[in-house]
Assembly symmetry: C2
Homo-oligomer: 353 residues x 2
């Protein structure tokens, strides 16, 4: 049985290129006592990975050259030395990008997926995984969202933004999405039900465009990008407005100086609260988040957009696309599915066994 992994070959200078990565063969790991051998089914592709490709500490250590990339994954137990996890169990966890990995109860984010009929397993690393729960706790626990507010979401067609905007809509807010292409603008208004979309690349003065779309100001800004977009938003917040700092995509690809912010005086003048967060801080809120996200998915109120690439050999390309900002919805890699079809639980079980 061949095992393969995606490793870091060289550190990207700006936007990662497929050449920065390499897919190499590696030994099939042997599960020790209390461990399980897991066949990875999906890798989550997420901008947070980018920070670890630079050679400096952020909230996680950098990934070394030759070391495997890591992210949340969904996989299936194929051999178990742990009485609590039977073969066939579907597990969520933070794992190396390999065909097969060993997993224990110490694995970061380890959770058993109670796969629901009709819900693609891929959703469990997207709308029903870190992306969806991040959007939920960001709006509720950090942002204190209230019905009737004006909410702006940046990277609105992205994995987190697309869910955040829909939650805000479902909470009775007016929702404006900031996106980077006309196609994304159509998607967020036509498919996701945002009230307005602004394509910042086609807008000479973003601050003015937001002011036009939000004449009474913005109560809550869910920020995935930072940079010039954040600067424009600072000029549009209401008094006591809240900025939920979820990500700063605008700086991720820049090895040297990230983009400057010049309008922070507005934090004082408008008495704004800007708060950053990482999902693990809000672990206690996740069950409630998942309950609501599941319910919205069942009722059809929540539309899930996924951008799936098939085959581990294409992981470098898929991640590079994501970081170039050209994807819509949750970007993920399916390891075992047939080309072009979304795997159902049943198909995956067959393929693995």
């Amino acid at each position: 049985m061949i095992n393969r992994r995606v490793v870091l070959r060289s550190r990207p200078a700006h936007v990662p290129e497929p050449d920065n990565f390499e897919v190499v063969e590696c030994p099939l790991p042997e599960p020790g006592e209390g461990e399980m051998l897991v066949r990875n089914l999906f890798f989550s592709m997420e901008p947070a990975i980018r920070a670890r490709l630079d050679d400096r500490m952020t909230y996680m250590p950098p990934i070394g050259l030759g070391e495997p990339i890591q992210s949340p994954t969904v996989g299936r137990v194929v051999r178990s030395n742990h009485s609590g996890y039977e073969e066939g169990a579907i597990l969520f966890g933070f794992n190396d990008w390999q065909d097969y990995v060993t997993v224990s109860e110490d694995t970061l984010l380890l959770d058993r997926v109670s796969a629901e009929e009709g819900v693609p397993l891929s959703h469990y690393i997207g709308a029903l995984g870190g992306s969806g729960t991040t959007a939920y706790v960001g709006l509720h626990d950090v942002g204190g969202i209230q019905a009737g507010e004006t909410v702006v979401v940046s990277a609105a067609a992205g994995a987190v933004g697309s869910v955040a905007g829909q939650i805000a809509r479902l909470r009775g807010c007016r929702v404006v999405g900031l996106v980077g292409s006309a196609e994304k603008a159509s998607v967020v208004t036509d498919k996701l039900g945002f009230d307005v979309a602004i394509d910042y690349r086609a807008t000479p003065d973003l601050a003015a465009a937001v002011a036009e779309a939000c004449p009474d100001g913005v109560d809550l800004y869910f920020d995935n990008v930072g940079g010039a977009t954040l600067d424009a938003m600072l000029l549009n917040m209401t008094t006591y407005g809240r900025i939920v700092a979820c990500g700063m995509m605008a700086g991720y690809n820049q090895q040297d100086r990230p983009p400057g912010i010049f309008n922070l005086w507005e934090i004082v003048a408008r008495q704004l609260r800007m708060e950053g967060f990482l999902l693990p801080t809000y672990t206690d809120s996740i069950p409630k988040a998942l309950e609501e996200l599941h319910a919205w998915l069942r009722s059809g109120d929540l539309v899930v957009l996924e951008n799936v690439t098939h085959g581990i050999h294409r992981a470098p390309e898929a991640f590079s696309h994501l970081m170039a900002g050209s994807t819509i919805g949750k970007t993920l890699l399916a390891l075992d599915a047939d080309e072009g079809t979304m795997p159902s639980v049943a198909t995956l079980e067959q393929q693995i066994s």
Copy 2:
């Protein structure tokens, strides 16, 4: 009886110069029904005035050319058409910089000063006025200060910073002050009891100097300056650290682009909360703040530093000095005091009557 006022003559390009102002004679106002004629005794000199000298709206409208400068003042009622305010009453309020003004119950911040034996009236626009209460509510209501924390205060020798640092010390925190001269550094450690002072002008790498002074990180940063200092502090905050955004002095003198901030990614990575505030939002907390500030003043735990200039004709010079960053403690202008002596309540009463 001559009345004089300080008006804006031209808009400063950077640091205000005395020539940007003019002291002109003006009619003595006649108090209408329900109004009082007030002899101003002290003008508060504060950086917030600077924002209104530029021709753009912030949280207050700009001051027009030829119009009087305004700030908190302390004055004495010399004629009253309001049954609730007798002649001789000492009033705090937000007034024009004039010898005499008319005041009504609608005057912004209007409050009666219950002058306490031995407390100079000047304190009521400083440590017992907006500066002290701003420091208090910033640390408590906005910053959630806790005993045992590490607190850093910028512009630590200034009106607000000097009180903020002392309150933090009295709350049982380790306190580091950031200042702009060796003299200020001595003052905050030797006179005000800060644990450490860092002269940022004499420090090639402020972030490294703060890291050395605060090896376990900074829990609470009380920021009066913004700019490069804020940028350095972002690299030193603990996880869940709080930044109280009280002022952004670094940008006040710059008509064009304020200094850029490049390290906002730390807001996400360290899960920081940065919150701006203005005192009127916390009106309900002011009585409690004043009670504690008074008590600390009486016990000698709170040292008040004042930088007093005498004579309305010297107001332009005093304000320019403040904005050049060269003053220590609360900067204020005394209108009627003899040169060089701090007026007691009794002296002032005599001078006015």
